[in-house]
């Protein structure tokens, strides 16, 4: 065997070792991302593609979804732990978002009205913190789609982080800081007090504001898509 052949054999060995390492690396990546089924990982969170399809392309600021130039503002006072709100989020709001928000006619804002229990507060604060990074509505919608039993202890740091990651919050470290910020937690309490002052007794409760209303007018809990759309039309 001459020098060139030896060198060739040596380089092919290096190449083979690299292939082996690459196979191991890919396998480890897949196993690690596939086995992270405990709290705190986006792999626990279902429905992100559906939520992305629902909200994709619609501007949002904080927890307000829709064009800032929209004439009508629809406000949902909801509790992320509330199963009725979850039903609304999955069955009623998508059609309204598609017909009235995407078209630029109305905005829809989520405001926390924490009536279920203590776990609703960190959940609501986490949604506000996600809103600071432009992913508030993804967080709210994804939380609803992965909602557990009321105050059963499922709203852990890990669960919230999983929802935030699934919602595509870009800076998780900043989100962690924001959601624990006193001002953010206070905001949850303030919107809850606001809902009580309006006279709402349950969630979700809606209010609407536009050229056709005198300030923020409560409309209660409309039972259908058409009822919500009608309220928006009247507020124009």
């Amino acid at each position: 065997m001459n020098g060139n052949d030896e060198r060739r054999q040596q380089l092919i060995k290096i190449g083979s070792a690299a292939v082996f390492l690459a196979i191991v690396a890919v396998a480890v990546l897949i196993v690690v991302s596939g086995s992270d089924n405990g709290g705190g990982d986006a792999s626990n969170v279902k429905g992100a593609p559906e939520v992305n399809r629902l909200l994709g392309g619609i501007p949002q600021k904080g927890l307000v979804l829709g064009e800032s130039s929209a004439k009508v503002a629809l406000v949902e006072f909801g509790d992320l732990q509330c199963p009725v709100c979850k039903g609304y989020s999955e069955e009623v709001l998508p059609a309204v978002i598609e017909s009235r928000v995407r078209s630029g006619e109305a905005t829809i804002e989520f405001r926390n009205y924490t009536i279920i229990g203590p776990e609703s507060i960190p959940a609501g604060a986490a949604a506000i913190a996600a809103g600071k990074q432009g992913r508030g509505w993804e967080f709210v919608e994804l939380f609803y789609r992965n909602q557990g039993t009321e105050d059963s202890g499922y709203v852990t740091d890990g669960f919230l982080k999983a929802v935030a990651e699934g919602a595509g919050v870009p800076d998780i470290a900043q989100w962690e800081k924001d959601r624990k910020d006193k001002a953010v937690v206070s905001e949850v309490e303030e919107t809850t007090a606001e809902a009580r002052n309006i006279g709402f007794e349950g969630t979700p409760s809606f209010a609407v504001e536009g050229p056709g209303t005198k300030g923020l007018e409560p409309i209660g809990t409309p039972r259908s898509v058409s009822a919500l759309e009608e309220a928006i039309s009247k507020a124009r």
């Binding site: 092919i12 190449g15 690459a22 992100a48 593609p49 992305n52 399809r53 994709g56 870009p170």
Partner: protein, 143 residues
């Protein structure tokens, strides 16, 4: 089995890497504008993938890493010699492995397929084939 000439393999790699730079650059530009690549055949796959938490690593769109990989592969396809042969093989191997992982994420985690990501994965697979053939056939031999 008769191997293709090394010049032919380098030509193929040059073409594929150049094409890959175009694809990865398009994805990067679409992302930097706050949007997502447009799926040629319609659908929401590209948007869903672009908006997933997997589309960025340390705040950087993974397509940027794609541009870097394709540029390096182009840099290895042009010159002769063992450094280019081994370099091209190792970079293509890494790119191919990462593409496999990303395809797994699309199918099983994000549950959406982006045609541009598939295009890049196909290009990276072909580049790996070309560079592996080049390395196995010609490494250690005269340029």
């Amino acid at each position: 089995m008769k191997l293709p000439r090394e010049g032919t393999l380098r030509g193929i790699a040059t073409f594929l890497a150049t094409f890959g730079i175009g694809v990865a650059t398009y994805i990067t530009i679409a992302d930097s504008g706050g949007g997502a690549p447009v799926c040629v055949a319609g659908g929401h796959g590209c948007q869903t993938v672009a908006e997933s938490s997997y589309s960025h690593v340390f705040g950087v769109n993974i397509a940027v890493f794609g541009i870097v990989a394709y540029v390096l592969l182009l840099g290895c396809a042009l010159p002769r010699g063992d450094v280019a042969r081994m370099g091209g093989f190792l970079i293509a191997l890494g790119g191919f492995g990462y593409s496999l992982y990303l395809t797994y994420l699309e199918v099983f985690k994000i549950e959406a397929i982006c045609q541009w990501c598939v295009a890049s994965a196909v290009l990276m697979t072909l580049l790996f084939a070309a560079n592996a053939t080049r390395m196995l056939g010609y490494v250690g031999r005269e340029p």
